[in-house]
Amino acid sequence: MSRAGDFRDPALVKALVAAVRRDVEALGRPVTLMEVCGTHTVAVSRSGLRGLLHGFVDLRSGPGCPVCVTSETDLDRMVALALAPGTVVVTFGDMVRVPGTVGTLEEARAAGADVRVVYSAEGAVRAAAEEPERLFVFLGVGFETTQPGVALALREADRLGLENFCILSAHKTLPQALRALIEPAAGGDARGGDAPGGGRADRPRLDGFILPGHVSAVIGRRAYDFMADEYGLPGAVAGFEPVDILVAVRELVRSVRAGRARVLNLYSRVVREEGNPRARAIVDRFFEPCPAEWRGLGTIPASGLKLRPEWERFDASVRLRAALEDGLARARARAQRTGHERLRRACRCGDVLRGELLPPECPLFGRSCTPVRPVGPCMVSTEGSCAAYYRYEGRGDRV
């Protein structure tokens, strides 16, 4: 029963779309919702939901792809670590092709760096244990879903007494980014240009958020209450099948219609009110909040995680400080000479990540930026909204 089939039932999908349409017609205006999870982005594009809802619900993708929101500075630091003598950089697959200001980890590998891809952080610990003469650096990238796995790997490295394993933490936490998107004082304004106090005119008015099921499995539904309580915006924690997403859309539209802001848990088969306390505890044991730079959103207070001081021996930014500083300086000097710089400046990933621009509206989309030759991270990552639009929604179509 918990298998996906029933949550893809075409009869249910059809009935849900019809129900949403009725509610939007009763409301009298189209509704704009944002999802903030790469897996939702892909699910919405692949299942054709965006098309089914076209004209009455505008489904926007926000900063939900961890690869895409990784700042160019962090990417440059990763490349610098890969190029440092004696290091092995270990990462999840999507990271290797994302360009910083000077290039990608893949290009560093072509230049002789040892860059390896693993399925789990624990795989990086195993590799380090097998080659004690090399220093292994795991790139800690990802939201709350991924962080417990990295913490488990650190616990294992500690248990084994590994001296040749460390991580570069570029982890991000989602609630703070949502707040920055919503909060005018933090540079964002989900309510759009017509809200008092400003907001950019080209920013869509957001009526609510579809919240990520697996991030929420860790942090719990309650972590989002602030959006309803403080900003009057409804939210719905949703699973990843078409029925899950449509139920969330329907509930959000009904909330808008009723003028009622609540954060609902519509993925109760996996998500609890308080999340998973064990997962949260192990993350807390190793990490503490820090400011983090997000591509497209800028620096957001307390939206990142760094290793606690007592775990400094696992912190690549401490152990490899000199290599990082050198590498960054060299990267910057090289960036000014490369032709890639010009294209990169035309890249609109930042606007796409804020939901202000749809991927096909970017002048590079499908022309100089494709999954084979990506310019920006949203086209590189399989979870990026540009890649999802390109694969599933017609590559060259202008909207």
């Binding site: 029963m1 918990s2 009869a11 249910l12 952080a121 997962a279």
Partner: protein, 75 residues
């Protein structure tokens, strides 16, 4: 990157489980799960189990949606 997939625990030794996932089996760390047992459905992400899947809640969700929309089970 937050892609996580439901699978069923088919074998368990301490905090290491073998999980059947769409026809494949994977070794998975289940130390973040309360009282894991063979037969449990869990959501697996990057080598560890993130949470149990509550099958009863899954049934209830579907039943509630069908009731609301008056769509039969199609079975």
């Amino acid at each position: 990157m937050c892609l996580a997939v439901p699978g069923r625990i088919v074998d368990l030794e301490g905090t290491r489980a073998t999980v059947e996932l769409g026809g494949n089996t994977l070794r998975v760390d289940v130390s973040l799960i309360e009282d894991p047992a063979v037969g449990d459905w869990v959501v697996v992400h990057a080598g560890f189990a993130l949470e149990k899947v509550d099958e009863e809640a899954a049934r209830e969700t579907l039943a509630a949606v069908r009731r609301l929309l008056e769509v039969g089970s199609g079975e």
